[in-house]
Subunit: 664 residues, 2 copies
């Protein structure tokens, strides 16, 4: 029921977008982006209304405002820019604009040749009221206008004053907001740094970075690999966990339960006599080495991301120090991880239903703060969907309050609503189903959902063609061409993407067994010695793709993604563009790794800022070939044995006879 | 941010349907209907969850609960019935079900032949905890089960007890709700009487009911018309305003400004020296006459609906008694209604922005209560979109609190969002754009939006082929066939519909001028003397259509509406059905009033409960003709010069040789 206080407020504000779950969750933007707000705003009867979007930094108490424009069908739109990291709030305000109503009526009556003498007096009253709200010279001007409207002289003078645009502008500065409707929710924007929107990740096991076989790599060995990684154009370097690895139930090569004395164990089996989540595995180095690595990485344009895997081995110090953080079985052993009938006896999950949950939460936050102290600002979070949603919302919210630049990537390969929930509650980026979306239909449907629905307001997809856990059947069967196609798809469909290397650039495609997505001789259980100098490595190809991404702003965001029709289901075509169409990229990928495929692409030219009547040039940034296109339907042909993709930049300027020296 | 209290609650409830604007507005149901509630409900990790829908009458403090079932993709569904008029509340509750998780794990381990001795002890612990929550013999039974599971003897006995369905059922009765997630909103259902969902309205000007020309009809004359109206099968009889009519600026015949002494004026020009909104126009009778009319109508199965038109003529007593309820112009006259350049000097709108708005609201509520006292329970509200939304929400909410059986029909022919807002805030039924939806594409799109999207949760459409203000071009040009087609469409697309008679059944189709939707010699400005005995009247046709509506429950609701493909754009086909398909109605209408049209209908047989492999009979309830159909594609042909529509009842039972006496 209506509270009696606002009985005279007549404006309705509803259908606000963006708004996630009735304002329960924030939307996400990056520094410098616009927040475009739309709403249905209307009142009873015929009165005109005015409305503004109100916004402020969370830390400020004063709203700024920006007028909204009428679109159609009671829909209004306004916008504001976010220029600082952290949280902004926004809401809407609308009111009956009696002056605007009056002016519209006056103009119609004048058109109809009606007498408006009483109307002019009404207008004078409205202006005089505004005088009370106005300041300085504006107040004086308004007073003069009111006097003019009251002038007894008939004639065009009064009417010119009344209908002048200048008077409207002046009145708009001092609206009568006595009966204003405020939208009843304050909505939140989380503003991240640009890397949250645009990043290229490279995952590597530091222990495999030693020069020469048989040695355990160190942080220092990693540093020697920086120029190789930076030359490929990546800007985030992500390490699996770097903490001490447990001994109890340690897994051997290829995840066997028989383990030799030299088997290093899985980095995700965290905790040993050497320490836990705030310690470094001794064979990698020490904390000082780590801090130096972070600094050195920066010099190469690389930012170190570490893994937050909140789980323990039986050897983790927490087990003794905080037995209450684990679930105990009736036989007085700790409950290990299981997904019946599978058992993971090397892993003790933390029990978030413990009575001591507050202490547990506090400690896990301490872990994050510890690594922030070491210079880390990007965390890849392992299996966040097996810890409570409330916990993450609290943790990420708390960290970002003090460190708004921190990025959390959710590694949750699980059901869609769970993945979306994690994104809503705060994760900056999220892994996706990209690895398993291989056909045109699948890719089109999935990325339309991620990038063209309101999912994009909170879920920032990160596209990975492979990970240490995922060697897809498509890569297994498609070989080098498949690796190239998937790289181009990941890097151009997604502004955020990553690969697990050097397995990727070396096209490692040997599964543990037929039908498995596990790598044979997986790096998770052994130290590898990759030959990164192999001549058939994709390193140069990757470097070129990453350079194209850096040089073309169209590829640095996801929202402009648009799929285009092409009459061959093995070929996919899509575009991305900057808002002003000054940079337009059209990508064509042959999804068939075996055969040459050809077809006719249909572009929506006006959306891409292309003139229907003029030829235009498509410049393939991968091959440097240039094609002359005309109209909306054009031919493409791709041989996967050469390059299975083209990344075209649309170039409007074509040389014609007018460029010729002798032409006039 | 999360409040610290619920840190251990791990279940998320979101995406609840039905829910209007984040719970801001109630959904609507009628007595005895089900409320089916769905939501996305999930938790982290692999634990099983259980959830219930909670519901209660608004007046009760105790929740009832009903378990929800898992559908797919983290979606759950539950339902409850509403069995009393007024408001119900509902919400959802969900929790981790440790026993269910345990049982699922146990079964998988048993399948895999694993040792479960420790698991049985864990189960015994869970059962023992439930013992504390259980009562009476259940507690005893649970204690026994726990003991059995602890039994040292190996063997199938323990396992049978542990996995028995009986134990699951027992445990489900006493769930551990310590860490329960309550959905954070209580949602409201407004429960109306069945007539809110299913009604046939007849609009008539009482003053035109006198026998013989030139006389002003009275309430008593109306009573003489009841059997005629009831015989046509209507159940709501709606009168335009019955109050005293103003003299000042009274409009003459055909809405001219020249008015003769016998011109009765428009009934919507309310208020004269004889009184205002709580008075009866003296020529109709007095209050006692009115009350008798209401009673007599009931005897004919008719319920009287009156018009709430909250506006005044300059002669209305309010103008003198409450000058503060009107807007005053600088020349000290009252602001009349205008929509520049049009002026309506006979109408003074009430000024809802008055400082005295509380007194104004109170008085208007008194008007409604006054007519409730006279026995009225249905109000057709004139132009509600020109009065504040807040006012209606307060008024309707307040009235329905004490009189939940009252029905308010919103006559707002305005922009869609305004119409929807009025429905959301409380109007029971709403006029629609039906009059202007004449082609197959228009009808399909509009009624899909109204009846197959969440609009139906709050907006109950009322379909009127004509009103005193609306004589559509379709009726003007199409003649008798168009009237029949539009009647069938209104009465079968809409469970709620109405006509303005006798203009409708007499097929009055003379516009005031070409291009106008006003009637020539409109009844709004003069007393008519209709010849209701004309042999070409549609009264019998209307009577038959209304009887079909009463006899077929499929037509008594809107939610089952389904359009079917037909390969001729002049033919439209749709069906309605009861939930169990015991009553299935298929309607075909020829939208071309001039030519015979034929085509092939395609029905989705399984949705209609029709066997693909058996013939079925289509019984045209209008003509009594019967057709033998088979499969999903069948032929129809309609001659508009005979009847432009068929209302088929699907009959499954076809006589075959098996019905023959000599057959076995």
């Amino acid at each position: 029921m209506i509270s009696i206080g606002n009985g005279r407020n007549r404006v309705i504000i509803e259908g606000v977008e963006p708004e996630i779950d009735g304002g329960r969750f924030p939307i996400k933007r990056t520094l410098g982006e616009q927040v475009v707000v739309e709403a249905d705003i209307f009142t009873d009867g015929h009165d005109a209304i005015s409305c503004v979007v109100l916004y402020r930094k969370n830390s400020e108490s004063q709203w700024s405002e920006h007028p909204m424009d009428f679109l159609a069908n009671d829909r209004w739109r306004g916008e504001f820019a976010v220029t600082e990291l952290g949280q902004y709030r926004y809401t809407l305000q609308a009111w009956i604009d009696h002056f605007k109503s009056w002016r519209q009526g006056l103009l119609k009556k004048l058109d109809a040749g009606q007498d408006v003498s009483v109307d002019l007096l009404t207008g004078a009253d409205l202006i005089e009221e505004a005088t009370q709200r106005a300041v300085g010279s504006d107040a004086k001007k308004l007073k003069e206008r009111a006097l003019s409207l009251r002038s007894a002289e008939e004639g065009s003078g009064r009417i010119q004053v009344a209908t002048a645009g200048e008077l409207s502008e002046l009145m708009a500065k001092y609206p009568d907001k006595e009966l204003t409707t405020m939208y009843d929710r304050e909505l939140v924007v989380v503003v991240d740094r640009p890397k949250a929107r645009f990043s290229a990740w490279y995952e590597i096991f530091p222990r495999s970075c030693a020069p020469g076989a048989g040695r355990h790599g160190t942080f220092q060995d990693c540093e020697a690999r920086f120029s190789y990684i930076a030359a490929m154009g990546f800007d985030v370097l992500y390490f699996p966990p770097i903490h001490p690895i447990g001994q109890t139930h340690r897994r051997g090569k290829n995840n066997t339960s028989t383990v030799g004395p030299d088997d290093p164990g899985s980095p995700w089996a965290i905790g040993s006599a050497d320490g836990g989540h705030k310690d470094v595995h001794p064979q990698l180095g020490n904390l000082k080495d780590f801090r130096r690595l972070v600094t050195k990485a920066k010099e190469h344009g690389l930012e170190i991301a570490i893994d937050l895997a909140f789980q323990c081995t039986p050897d983790h110090p927490y087990v003794k120090e905080h037995p209450e953080w684990f679930r105990w079985r009736p036989d007085r052993t700790v409950q290990y991880a299981e997904n019946p009938p599978k058992k993971y006896e090397d892993i003790y999950p933390l029990n978030f239903e413990t009575e001591k949950w507050q202490e547990l939460w506090a400690e896990l936050k301490e872990v994050v703060l510890f690594w922030i102290d070491q210079g880390v600002r990007i965390f890849r979070v392992d299996n966040p969907h097996t810890k409570p949603f409330n916990f993450w919302e609290w943790l990420i919210g708390g960290i970002k309050k003090d460190y708004p630049e921190v990025i959390f990537l959710a590694e949750a390969f699980t059901r869609p609503k769970v993945m979306y929930q994690l994104a809503k509650l705060g994760f900056t980026q999220s892994y996706t189903y990209f690895a398993w979306r291989n056909t045109k239909g699948e890719l089109t449907q999935y990325f339309t959902e991620l990038m063209q629905t309101n999912v994009r307001e909170y879920f920032r997809p990160s596209l990975w063609p492979n990970t240490p856990d995922i060697l897809t059947e498509y890569l297994q069967m498609g070989g080098r061409s498949a690796f190239m196609a998937r790289l181009v798809l990941a890097a151009t469909l997604g502004a955020n993407y990553g690969i697990y290397g050097p397995a990727f650039e070396l096209c490692d495609r040997r599964p543990k067994e037929f039908g498995s997505e596990e790598y044979l001789d997986s790096e998770k259980y052994e130290i590898k010695n990759w030959d990164i100098t192999k001549p058939d490595s994709l390193r140069d190809f990757i470097a070129r793709v990453n350079r194209i991404r850096r040089e073309n702003p169209a590829l640095q965001g996801d929202w402009s993604l648009c799929f285009h029709s092409i009459d061959n289901d093995q070929l996919i075509c899509y575009s991305k563009r900057t808002e002003d169409c000054s940079n337009v990229i059209v990508v064509v990928v042959n999804l068939d790794p075996h055969h040459t495929q050809a077809g006719w692409v249909e572009l929506g030219l006006s959306d891409l800022g292309i003139n229907h009547e003029m030829p235009y040039q498509l410049h393939d940034l991968l091959s440097e070939a240039r094609y002359l296109w005309h109209g909306h339907r054009n031919y493409v042909e791709l041989n996967p044995q050469i390059v299975p993709a083209q990344i075209f930049r649309v170039r409007h300027k074509i040389r014609t006879e007018r460029d010729f020296d002798y032409f006039m």
